[in-house]
């Protein structure tokens, strides 16, 4: 049987991405269905992540599936020393699809190799988080009408920010121009700049974050600058306020510009930005529901045609 696991979407073709985007759009029109009636979705959160788990479980519930799982590995046998393989093998006896989050990198890839039940990677350490990438792509597609030829500005922690790395790799086929705005200590790692050069992706690096430097952005992707990432706390104190977006910085920006953020935010987007027409981060999180409905269906072999011709809409 073909393994339909979704460990990464970085190597998906444009057609595959477009199919998932179209599926998400259908689910946005009609989120509540009985398409997965009789199916069991397991959500195995070896590492807590309330936001992602709620989004996946809501997606499964709204499609009529039943959900089993755990939210804290302390209650499972992994705390007794059970291997990941054994846990996955055990759950494979019960579920039709397994959504898993793990603190170790590569855990989802390994899980997908030890079972025939499809695995959806809901984050493996700082490695991959394809459902986040998918909801980012859907948010960009929805707000801009296309993924092609966009100016995407990434701001804040570009060194450790898993979401910006995944987005960068997934956008490479759409001729984007990236602007990397970050303090020196948190700049985009060399391997991703090399990736851009290798794939012919244009990028510009800058440290200034002002109304003028973001004037040409179509997408402003904000991330949190975290104190614990700095080896030099003096440096943190110096830069912590330099990458905060305020409403008065939006006067020169493009009309179509939207602000994205993977959430949770702390202070990097001031609350006065929330009322701006450019603020999109809450809708972005909402889009995660449709993106995850699409991903779950994809792993179960449900096609776009099945979704368009679905007679189970509630």
């Amino acid at each position: 049987m073909e393994n339909r696991s979704i460990v990464s979407i970085a190597d998906y073709s444009k057609e595959q991405i477009q199919t998932l985007l179209s599926m998400a759009a259908e689910f946005e029109k009609h989120p509540n269905r009985q398409l997965l009636k009789g199916k069991v979705v397991a959500t195995l959160f070896f590492e807590p992540s309330t936001r992602t788990r709620l989004s996946f479980e809501t997606a499964a519930n709204r499609l009529g599936a039943r959900v089993i799982g755990f939210t804290d590995p302390k209650v499972t046998s992994s705390s007794k020393g059970e291997t990941l393989k054994d846990t996955i093998k055990m759950v494979s006896n019960y579920a039709d699809v397994i959504v898993m989050r793990h603190k170790l990198e590569g855990a989802a890839q390994y899980a997908s190799e030890v079972t025939d039940v499809p695995i959806i990677n809901a984050g493996d350490g700082s490695n991959l988080h394809p459902s986040q990438t998918m909801l980012d792509l859907y948010s960009i597609y929805k707000t801009q009408g296309t993924l092609d030829n966009l100016n995407i500005y990434m701001v804040g922690d570009l060194k450790y920010g898993r979401t910006v790395h995944s987005l960068l790799m997934s956008m490479r086929k759409y001729n984007p121009t990236f602007h990397f705005i970050a303090p020196k200590e948190l700049e985009m790692p060399e391997e991703y700049k090399f990736y851009c050069k290798h794939n012919g992706v244009k990028y510009i690096e800058q440290t200034d974050f002002t109304d003028s430097t973001i004037a040409d952005a179509d997408i402003l992707y904000m991330t949190r600058v975290q104190r614990e990432r700095f080896s030099d706390l003096m440096e943190y104190e110096r830069v912590k306020d330099a990458y905060i977006l305020r409403a008065d910085m939006l006067t020169k920006c493009r009309d179509n510009m939207k602000i994205l953020h993977p959430l949770p935010r702390v202070n990097e987007i001031q609350y006065d930005v929330d009322d701006s027409k450019h603020a999109y981060y809450f809708e972005q999180a909402h889009n995660g529901l449709y993106a995850r409905e699409a991903l779950i269906c994809q792993t179960l072999g449900i096609t776009l045609d099945d979704i368009i011709n679905d007679k189970t809409i509630i």
Partner: protein, 168 residues
Amino acid sequence: MNNKEQKLVAALKDGSVIDHIPTDKLFTIAALLELEKCNEPVLIGNNLESQIMGKKGIIKISGKFFTEAEISKLAVICPNIRLTTIRNYEVMEKREIALPETLTDIVRCPNPVCITNNEPMKTVFYVDRHNYIHQMFPYDHAIGEDDNTKMKCRYCGKEVQIKDIKLK
């Protein structure tokens, strides 16, 4: 092998000869093969003249025939050594060993939070052919130096340079 060399290292009846070893890697290879535990005759030569390499090391082990896994390990330590298999004084096989495209359970991932370091499982590394200079120009530069060959962990995706590699 010329006459002069033959005098230096005696002929084998059955066993293997590892030739073209970079001189600075000879004792690493000897340690990897755990030759100190070997009860059969072993001959080790170093700083021998080589037309291709300048100087080289050579190891002859009586009664030893290498498995593919052992050959892969040798290839990781020093790509492009030559392995000769001898049976009843006849050369049965002579091959330049090269890194395979995939290394299964040979190399340890340097990433402590990689699943392979936390689960009883095999590691898998992919050799990056683009940086694999030796493959196309085997003796173009001093072997073992400036080797930019990279390998990528199948699981966590981290890349590691061949010179930083730790065997499993």
